[in-house]
Amino acid sequence: MSDLRTAVVRLDKRTAEVVTPDGDLRWESIGAALNLALIERYGAESLVFGGGPLTGTLAPASALLVGSFVSAWPARADRSAPATSTRHVPLLLTAGPDFRFSGIDHLVLLGAAERPTLLHIDGGRVRFVELPPQAADMPSLENLLRRSAPPFRSAILTSPAADAGVHFASASLGLKGSLDKAGLAGAMAAKNLKGILLGGSGGIAFVAEDLKRSLELVAKLKGERKKTGGFVSVVEAAGGGDCLKVLKGAKLRDAACFHCPAPCMVHAQFAGADPRVPPGPKQQNGLLLLDHMGWIALAKRRGKGALSLLAESIRLGLDPSAVASLLPAEGGKEGLTSDFAVLFDLAKGAGPSPSMSSAAADLTFGVSPLVPGTGEEACRRTALAFVLGVCPLFLLRFPQISGDLAAFLPAGVEPACVKRSAERVITQG
């Protein structure tokens, strides 16, 4: 097992130190459970990021980074979802591995910065980076960062919507959006933290046998999936089977998180429907359908316009599920133009403001469900994924794999520790 290097950053004092948790924390909890333990240690106002022992390893779909926090903030309660409970937000794609490749396993953020702050993590060090001029949306923010910030492989960014105190603002992994439906963006904004850039230039050790195991598991899974079958199966499981016709005409390409042999996302390229852009011969838009639930909610509300609205939600940093619930039941006379105007108002905090995101209302142990209708078994699997650092959707789709994952656990992590941690996540959520 790695040294579990934990970076403790005091945003108000602009200091950072890297510590190694002592014995009781180190061996009692892993993954999201260790996040909880760190929150207990450093106080309820801390915001903790951490992967599991499998994050970034050769275990399949080992892509998960978890952002954990307690949702009520004494000083600036207006900026977060109002219910007081622990929240865990899954951050997928390459965020988890890059977090660990940057040289730390957990990040504890304390206090609130005086001015908008950006963190850059690499080589086991946390640095405060000068923030580029204010960006209006996610793409322009990422573009600014790519030009002016130190090199990074992944980024966790908040949007101006979160700064405006929008409860359903969503953190974004660069331009791709995220599964943040529980208010991580709000929690980051409350600390005046604009983003975390992950350099990911380092690496983590592995055992030679893991290569063989990984190859065997990939071969085992290869026969169980078809092209774009992953996306379709997840959408159908989420009750959005009838929404798939909305994708007709869009060019779909499978997309996967770090080391995932069974992609469940697609990148959709579709003919432009952005009413603000003058019609041209080739107005092509593309987006990653990472948030199945958000897309289904929008598709049920607006049909063909769902892709454009989802792209706009990601651009503005809003949770698509919440956006879908806030859109008028019927599209206006001007079609998407009026919907875009609603989104723009929502992002400024000027539109209708529910007490909390509709998705956040259904939290299970602090996790917004990735597919609805999760029973006890699914709940247990999700918790297992959160402590191991593996994609929860992957574990839900391939439950037969969970036994094989134990072989990838580093020495020192007992099965009892995994079980204990999962139970802790469920009970404390």
Binding site: G56, T57, L58, T94, P97, F101, G123, P151, R153, G174, L175, K176, G199, G200, S201, G202, G203, I204, A205, F206, L211, S214, L215, V218, L221, K222, R253, D254, A255, A256, C257, F258, H259, C260, P261, A262, P263, H267, A268, Q269, G286, L288
Partner: protein
């Protein structure tokens, strides 16, 4: 007095310390180059999971560190199309040329490697490589590049979606054999069996003549012979239908040039004014004007094709002396491949005029061409008409069919099946590759 560049005569240079190793190519290699497997990337299958990077790094540095991999997946968030950057092990690697310390070498097995002992991580190889395939390690700043795992690439074995394959390509490869056979048979028939029949062939009342010879004859005599007219018409129709296939498949001198190209290296350049390829039209016009002025077919006295066909056997005109023109013009191969055909041949010029009405065309679809640094089609094209820069930019190059000799080497070689024959009126290939 000190030399201006501060290098003393007795100082050692890199050539003394580490002389450039000349590539050893056996005669067999020159005529039948070995097909070496390479890594083929299919962006349509790539999901961007990064397993290739992860696995590669485990071999490179013994830890899971994608930043230290020799392959890099570039994810296009806007278009969702991924691109894998890795060494293509080019036949003529620019990185080897660029390396100031000769740390880059291309082995006899075709694999381009870095000798770490000599590498100073200056990055010139990366700058020289059209793919920027020598990658800088994010942690140590060393230069790393793919060595194909010495014949069993781990990235290929571990790719969960088979986006990477280790293959000799989807190329036809059989066209080459057919073309060489046809060229050999044509050479034997025209030069050794039917002596002189290329220039004029008479069977009873029916006659055929070399089209350029026929054209000169018209100017020289002021009369139009039926044989000349028939020949011009036949060649015109065939060229409109098949392009300059004669140059690529039948011409005996072209066959000689192809053989010579395999043997002699390229040493010199040609003046830039020739690059417009207009000189051959000038020679054609000059031949016609000269014939009109002197009353005989002027160019035929020095025509390398005619010389080959006439200078042997009983019909030989000068028996040996005239043959000097063949090695003389073949010597042009020291400059560029088929440079005679490209810039000077009036027969080719006449055919090029006919070919401007071509029915068929060759297209290279940038969309199918999945690796912009492969440019094997441009490398093998003997006429040098495939714009490698366009391919590197992800654009479909326009191939001038007046210059194309229809040898089909591009079709034969392309590992992605991107080179295709199309009718002239068929819709072009997508102009821009999605990257």
């Amino acid at each position: 007095m000190e030399p201006a560049n501060n290098i003393r005569d007795n100082e050692l240079g890199i050539d003394d310390l580490r002389p450039r190793r000349l590539e050893k190519r056996t005669l067999m290699d020159r005529f039948m180059p070995r097909r070496r497997p390479f890594i083929l990337f299919d962006p349509d299958r790539c999901t961007g999971c990064g397993t290739c990077e992860t696995i590669c790094a485990t071999r490179n540095v013994g830890s899971i560190a994608p930043a230290s991999a020799s392959i890099r997946v570039i994810r296009n968030d806007a278009r969702g199309r991924n691109l894998a950057v890795y060494c293509q092990h080019c036949r003529k690697p620019l990185c080897v040329e660029a390396c100031p310390t000769r740390a880059m070498t291309r082995g006899e097995d075709g694999i381009v490697r870095i000798e770490k002992l000599f590498c100073t991580s200056c990055g010139l190889c990366t700058a020289a490589c059209p793919e920027a395939a020598p990658l800088r390690d994010g942690r140590t700043s060393e230069i790393r590049k793919c060595d194909l795992c010495e014949g069993d690439p781990l990235c290929v074995r571990h790719c969960p979606n088979s986006a990477l394959t280790y293959t000799k390509g989807k190329a036809f490869r059989w066209i080459k054999g057919v073309r060489w056979t046809v060229q050999l048979i044509s050479f034997m028939l025209l030069v050794l069996v039917f002596l002189g029949t290329f220039c004029y062939f008479n069977a009873g009342s029916f006659g055929l003549a070399c089209p350029t010879g026929a054209l000169q004859n018209i100017f020289a005599t002021g009369r139009v012979l039926l044989a000349g007219l028939t020949s011009l018409l036949a060649i015109f129709l065939l060229t409109v239908l098949l392009g300059r296939f004669f140059c690529g498949w039948i011409c005996p001198f072209g066959f000689v040039l192809d053989l010579v190209d395999r043997i002699i290296p390229k040493k010199f350049g040609l003046p830039s004014f020739l690059k417009t390829r207009m000189a051959k039209y000038g020679i054609l016009g000059g031949a016609a004007a000269g014939s009109a002025a002197f009353g005989f077919q002027v160019f035929c006295t020095v025509c390398p094709i005619g010389t080959l066909c006439r200078s042997y056997g009983q019909q030989a005109m000068f028996r040996g002396a005239e043959m000097a023109i063949v090695p003389l013009l073949a010597g042009l191969e020291l400059t560029e491949r088929r440079s005679w055909c490209r810039y000077f041949c009036p027969v080719g010029a006449l055919l090029a005029l006919f070919a401007s009405l071509h029915l068929l065309k060759i297209v290279i679809g940038a969309k199918q061409c999945k690796k912009f640094s492969c440019i094997q089609c441009a490398e093998v094209c003997p006429m040098g008409i495939i714009n490698a820069d366009k391919l590197r930019e992800g654009l479909s190059p326009e191939i001038p069919m007046t210059e194309c000799i229809g040898c089909l080497r591009c079709l034969d070689r392309c590992p992605y099946g991107a080179a295709k024959i199309r009718f002239r009126w068929q819709k072009g290939v997508p102009g821009e590759v999605e990257r």
